[in-house]
């Protein structure tokens, strides 16, 4: 399903949440359009399991509905709070399963002949997802929030409950690990062709 852009509301996240707690179902729709894709994307990258990610995303949004009436304006951003909930839910789920090493991840399936660039993009995305899965959980979380969810370091610090310096250290270490993991597949993924 392709969701329309959230152009229905110019209201802030807090205003929408207030409207929802006052009983406005349109505010629920606007908040869902605004946050669900981001929440699902983050959870999917953390868990590498679409079904679990959907459960986490639904649970996180449910907690947002329950929080609505008692939201304290000015203390934190709604988005930051929501990411933190997703982070905690993913941590709970990850504790119940082992991290899958990159070597055991299946090779990309054979695809029908399409444009070379599209195939290459898909392969790179899959390789990156696999490499992310091999990172320690904290490094993975930091680098996903920084480079894929495009959050600022202060926001990430708030989500993860650490200092900004710790976030910078985690993302730097994650980048070094990813480079080490992806370097052997440099030619296969066409990174040399990009020069």
């Amino acid at each position: 399903m392709e969701l329309p852009l959230d152009a229905t509301s110019k209201a802030t996240d807090e205003e929408l949440l207030q409207d929802f707690s006052n009983g406005d179902p349109a505010a629920a729709r606007a908040l869902t359009l605004r946050f669900l894709p981001r929440v699902l994307g983050f959870a999917t990258r953390m868990l590498h399991d679409r079904h679990e990610a959907e459960d986490v995303a639904q649970e996180a949004m449910l907690r947002l509905w329950k929080m609505g009436g008692s939201w304290q304006s000015g203390e934190a951003k709604v988005s930051t709070w929501l990411y933190r909930v997703v982070s905690n839910l993913c941590t709970d789920r990850l504790r119940r399963k082992r991290t899958v090493p990159i070597d055991t991840i299946a090779e990309p399936e054979d695809k029908q002949a399409t444009a070379h660039a599209v195939l290459l993009q898909a392969d790179r995305a899959q390789a990156l997802e696999a490499a992310l899965g091999a990172l320690p959980k904290r490094q993975r979380e930091a680098i996903i929030l920084r480079h894929l969810e495009e959050l600022s370091n202060p926001d990430i610090a708030q989500i993860m409950g650490v200092s900004v310096e710790a976030v910078e250290s985690l993302t730097a270490r994650a980048k070094r690990t990813l480079t080490k993991l992806l370097a052997p597949r440099k030619t296969e993924l066409g990174f040399e062709d990009d020069k």
Partner: protein, 114 residues
């Protein structure tokens, strides 16, 4: 960039599940508001007076209480010597009986058993 572009699309089913949760929460919130007792309206002076009157038993009782109150104020404010002779007006008044009652109230041993 490749990984960012490859973010998973939200399925219609998930979208509707999330909205159903929101609707369910709104319904539950409305139900909890309805089960709360209606706010009691202020009575106002007239309403308060009527409420007190009903509590004590209506106008006849209120009138009796008012008379008793007036009598008590009168008795408390008037000197005892002004009551002399008053007892003659009371029916079946027996001075001896009155004295006995007084004597009994001062004799702590009278009511003791044995």
């Amino acid at each position: 960039m490749a990984a960012r572009d490859a973010a998973p699309a939200v399925s219609t089913a998930l979208f509707h599940r999330v909205l159903d949760d929101a609707a369910g929460h709104l319904d539950a919130t409305k139900m909890s508001v309805k089960t709360q007792p209606d706010r009691v309206k202020p009575l106002g002076i007239k309403g308060l007076f009527a409420s007190v009157l009903n509590t004590i038993g209506g106008w006849p009782v209120a009138a009796g209480l008012a008379i008793a109150l007036m009598a008590g104020i009168f008795i408390g404010s008037v000197k005892p010597e002004q009551f002399r002779g008053f007892e003659q007006l009371l029916p079946q008044y027996d001075t001896n009986s009155a004295y006995l009652l007084d004597a009994l109230s001062y004799d702590d041993g009278f009511w003791a058993e044995g």
